[in-house]
């Protein structure tokens, strides 16, 4: 590796930090200035993420490089580590952010204060969580993104949001404490916080320490899985996401994936094939939890009264499928799961945006009186804010047709039907789950069949629920066609267009996720490159001692 660090790696964290901070200095009324800054910041992030994606893919072993903050030597610095997985997550975050942010500019961003800054800080937390190679730093970025998400969940205020946010914050604060306990336990036995260093030391732990190490990892996984929405830790999710303003909820679609990402990263790093006695620790629990989540989400979808709740159930469904796939601990399944992650995130986000357009003007049963709360304040407020039941934009001629088409695309994405990308992702996952690589190719194993059954059943449930809600939204009732500004329709179409593009280029995409999965399940290269100079010193000392 060359001596000059690749400064591009730190850009996805610094860009939203500076943009968000600068926005705080701009008066709340100068919306155009804030919006311009926000769009530019996200475009920069998108460009950087794309560059990093190609850089990581081109690098040997898919390892894009380490950025040691403060340029301290290897085990001491807090590292940012770029590999195919983190680059993929960065690119997905940036693309999603652009769509959600542009959509919010049509009106939702004016429902309350500080939307623009909070959005940037959320991006900073997300990008940081995907890049960091340090366990405690991961905690810090988690807290950052959660703090921003509290603000975004509350954006627009109203009783339903305040109530849902109260639960959401309480659950997440408790989960953060579990996170800290897990980190402290792991540190106490390994003496390291650098993930690569922990993975390096884990195989040589003594039996007594190993028990503590595994307990720490278990507690840590509990914290991640709460955020990922694993049943039975997921009851906070649907109300919060259903109550949040549409673009914020759409952005939250990737937040459960942060939990999945953390579980995937740490389980492959710490409990992969090379982890000695701890290899495969906790995988059954993760698998069963994922399947339970899928079933729970399937029934929740059938039971969902409105589109926003249904979208929340779909987020849970994809989280469950991903968690279960991580529990397999198999390269092929992980590869399909990563592809599924991208497609289902895009689909769920699009559905949230769609629910925002369709739900406008329709009195939601969960939210009996949103208007009286806002009324008193808003009339006096000279900067009369955006009211959510207010009609935005003009009647867009083909809006109903376009929205219907978008809904159809969302349904195929979320239920995993052909022709869109999640169908191929599911095929790839199931194929790998049912055909274990190795000698005993005839022995499929009960896990594979359970996963097949759960996938097919929940796909059917999601399809039924989506069709029913879709019919209610589009065919039944005498509602005038909902008005949508082009500023709202364009991001929606862009998200679905991206999903369609992923379908067309499914070959290269699956090749990429396959390589990413391969590197994840053989983390030797990752560990060695992360610790490079220090490891050389250790080796030299060992050789010196041996000879």
């Amino acid at each position: 590796m060359s001596d000059a660090p690749n400064h591009l790696i730190v850009a996805p964290i610094l860009t939203p930090l500076f943009a968000g901070a600068a926005m705080l200095l701009i008066d709340e009324k100068r919306r155009a200035a804030k919006a311009t800054l926000g769009v530019v910041s996200i475009l920069v992030q998108l460009a950087v993420a794309t560059a990093l994606l190609f850089a990581a893919d081109a690098a040997t072993g898919g390892f894009g490089g380490v950025y040691r903050l403060g340029d301290w030597p290897a085990p001491f610095a807090i590292p940012l580590v770029l590999d195919r997985l983190s680059a993929l997550m960065l690119a997905l975050t940036a693309a999603l952010a652009l769509a959600c942010y542009v959509y919010a500019l049509a009106g939702a961003s004016r429902a309350g204060a500080y939307f623009h800054s909070l959005f940037q800080f959320l991006l900073m937390g997300l990008n940081g969580a995907f890049l960091t190679g340090d366990l405690f730093n991961l905690f810090v970025f988690f807290e950052l993104l959660l703090a921003a998400s509290y603000g975004l969940a509350l954006h627009g205020s109203g009783p339903a949001r305040v109530k849902a946010s109260l639960h959401y914050i309480a659950v997440n604060l408790a989960a953060s404490l579990l996170f800290l306990i897990g980190v402290a336990l792991i540190y106490s036995v390994t003496g390291a916080l650098n993930m690569a260093e922990i993975a390096f030391r884990a195989p040589s732990l003594s039996a007594a320490d190993r028990a503590l190490f595994e307990a720490g990892a278990g507690v840590l996984a509990l914290a991640f899985l709460t955020k990922a929405g694993m049943w039975p830790l997921s009851f906070w999710l649907a109300p919060t996401y259903g109550a949040a303003v549409a673009p914020a909820a759409a952005m939250f679609a990737i937040m459960t994936k942060v939990g999945v990402y953390a579980v995937l990263r740490l389980s492959t790093l710490l409990f992969g094939a090379g982890a000695g006695a701890s290899s495969g620790y906790g995988m059954e629990a993760i698998f069963l939890g994922g399947v339970a989540t899928m079933l729970f989400a399937g029934f929740a979808a059938l039971n969902a009264a409105n589109l926003a709740r249904l979208a929340g159930a779909c987020v849970l469904l994809s989280a469950g499928a991903l968690i279960a796939a991580v529990g397999f601990g198999r390269v092929g399944v992980t590869s399909g799961a990563l592809f599924y992650l991208v497609g289902s995130t895009l689909g769920a986000a699009a559905l949230f945006l769609l629910a925002g357009v369709l739900g406008r003007g329709e009195a939601s049963p969960d939210d009996p009186a949103p208007a009286p709360v806002a009324d008193g304040d808003e009339d006096e407020d000279e900067d009369a804010g955006f009211r959510e039941d207010e009609q935005v934009g003009r009647v867009f001629p083909a809006s109903m047709g376009l929205l219907g088409f978008a809904f159809l695309a969302c349904v195929t994405l979320l239920a995993g039907l052909p022709p869109l990308s999640t169908f191929f992702a599911k095929i790839a996952m199931l194929k790998a789950a049912l055909a274990p690589a190795g000698a005993a190719a005839t022995d499929v194993g009960v896990e594979g069949w359970i996963y097949l059954a759960a996938t097919l059943a929940t796909g059917l449930f999601a399809l039924i629920a989506l069709t029913r809600v879709g019919m209610r939204a589009f065919w039944i009732g005498e509602r005038a066609s909902p008005m949508a500004s082009p500023l709202e329709l364009a991001p929606l179409m862009a998200l679905l267009g991206l999903a369609a593009a992923l379908t067309i280029w499914a070959g290269p995409a699956l090749r990429y996720t396959g390589d990413a999965a391969l590197a994840l399940h053989a983390p030797r290269h990752y560990i060695e490159r992360s610790l490079e100079p220090a490891l050389d010193r250790v080796r030299r000392a060992e050789q010196g001692g041996g000879s």
Binding site: A147, V162, I169
Partner: protein, 125 residues
């Protein structure tokens, strides 16, 4: 020393969890604060308990075995700051919920009561 610390952490966690499960939002926030203290003590304890100072005395390399681990102390400082900030944020939401719903029940309504038709008077934010 270890016993006292362990008992203190245990007592804090027990009371914190109990309060966290109570229905009033003030009890929940106090419970979270107590749990936070317990976790902070736990992190310090994970750096091994002892009378040794966490810093090396002067220039040159001292004997690391004679010193406490400074990393856990740095971690606990960060955890305290973050915990403080999130608790303050939760407090604001708690006050907003009290203002919007007119009750301090965590569900925004008294058990058994019909939800209030109109939000109570008082601060809205």
């Amino acid at each position: 020393m270890e016993l006292v610390l362990a008992l203190a952490i245990g007592a804090l966690v027990a009371s914190g969890v109990w309060l966290l499960l109570r229905p009033r939002s003030f009890q929940v926030i106090v419970g979270l604060a107590l749990l936070g203290y317990a976790v902070n003590l736990f992190i310090v304890a994970m750096g091994r308990v002892g009378p040794a100072p966490p810093v090396l005395p002067g220039p040159g390399v001292g004997d690391p075995a004679a010193h406490a681990d400074p990393t856990t102390q740095a971690l606990v400082l960060t955890a305290i700051v973050i915990g403080f900030a999130t608790t303050a944020l939760f407090l604001v939401v708690l006050l907003a919920a009290r203002g919007v719903s007119g009750t301090d029940h965590v569900d925004g309504e008294e058990p058994g009561a019909t939800p209030p038709a109109a939000p109570a008077e008082g601060e809205r934010r």
